[in-house]
Assembly symmetry: C2
Homo-oligomer: 266 residues x 2
Amino acid sequence: MGGLFARDTAAAPLGAGRYAGAIAPGWDIRGNANGGYLLALAARAMLLECARTDPVTISAHFLSPGREGPVETDVRVLKQGRRFTTASATLSAAGKPLLAALGSFGDLAGGKAAAERMHSPPPELPPPAQCFRHEPARGAPRMFGQIDLRVHPDDAGFALGTPSGEPRVRGWLRLPDEEPVDTLGLLFVVDAFPPAVFNSSVPIAWLPTVELTAHVRARPQPGWLRACFTTRFVSAGFLEEDGEIWDASGRLVAQSRQLALLPQPG
Amino acid sequence: MGGLFARDTAAAPLGAGRYAGAIAPGWDIRGNANGGYLLALAARAMLLECARTDPVTISAHFLSPGREGPVETDVRVLKQGRRFTTASATLSAAGKPLLAALGSFGDLAGGKAAAERMHSPPPELPPPAQCFRHEPARGAPRMFGQIDLRVHPDDAGFALGTPSGEPRVRGWLRLPDEEPVDTLGLLFVVDAFPPAVFNSSVPIAWLPTVELTAHVRARPQPGWLRACFTTRFVSAGFLEEDGEIWDASGRLVAQSRQLALLPQPG
């Protein structure tokens, strides 16, 4: 629990499935805590209550924006199975629910399974030093000062006022001080990149997430993570964003999908 | 509530968020109730308790196989918002939890939004009469006698002992007696097709779903639905299956993703 991310997602047991924590400074986008960070806060408490090592699949519904300060997570274990433990949780601040989650937790240690078939490769990226660093000095929200995020030059148009036209964002990510990203950290990573739709021709300033689901496949090897996020369907006032996270060894470590609202103009 | 599907997913309020229902005959795959059918059963109770018309996004974790007979859904409303109501639920049989769900419900009436961008087209399919009917007479489980499911000839190899090699299944679906599929019905449809991975080179007989998430975009127009399911990553003992459902007017009405276990051989 040495790194900043681990400290800032800590959960202290209060008994009866309740855990105390806090939304720490710096994990926000213009005041509102990042959704993946909130999910990691809740999942930390769920992991502890389930006495498991890794989130395997977890979904969160975002109920209210979260601000810096104390939070509480109430966890209810629904089934303790041989392979997975399933639990639901609510993360609240001063009694107001911010996020509801449902997840299954297990143990993702171990190597490759008998059958492995990858029908898509990891994204091809120039080395981090040749990518666009998305950081506060260049207008990015302050959260991007806490992490090291490098965007593929072809996908950095959104940050420079010239969206690529293709709703895709590929890039590298690591935590400060090279804090290793564990499977809990992946729940943050799947929501840590600027929205892919910022590179489309749809005018969007703000994109509230309704729901986010992450599937964690494996524990990441140390080093840079590479990620690819895409949006294919902007319709009926909604859009989805799909994410894939790969580790330094080229292994798929997580997949994600979120449903976001497209605020009506005017 | 005239059609078979509507009757077989009915929920009767018992008070205090509890609803009685039953796993009806014929919705099983070799004895175990279809996951999407179980989800629809739970979601019916959630919709009623939330007093909303449409599921917008819902996730289910599958805890135990469901068999024919009475079930109860316990619903807890977590937030009643202006646009969405979020609730959690557990579907149980004789006190044993079969499924846990978390969903947000709203009203999907209304036409197109200001911005629509579709970066993928609906699947191209030959007319239903030129597709392969997946039915019990041809070895399909009896559930496929309750629905009318036509698979693209190029994707029907799995049923004929000659998998295409590409983990994809495209096809048409309608309910018997042309019962219209509403947004609740879409929760069944996203899990109603044979697994895409049956067309891969991975030897699989049985594929337990850990988690299924559906996003419902719009109310389907009457008529045949067309669907496309794909699997891209078989790794670490897991695989995902992504689905898209389009209505007769060519509109995307639902997206889904599920995480399934790849049982170890031997």
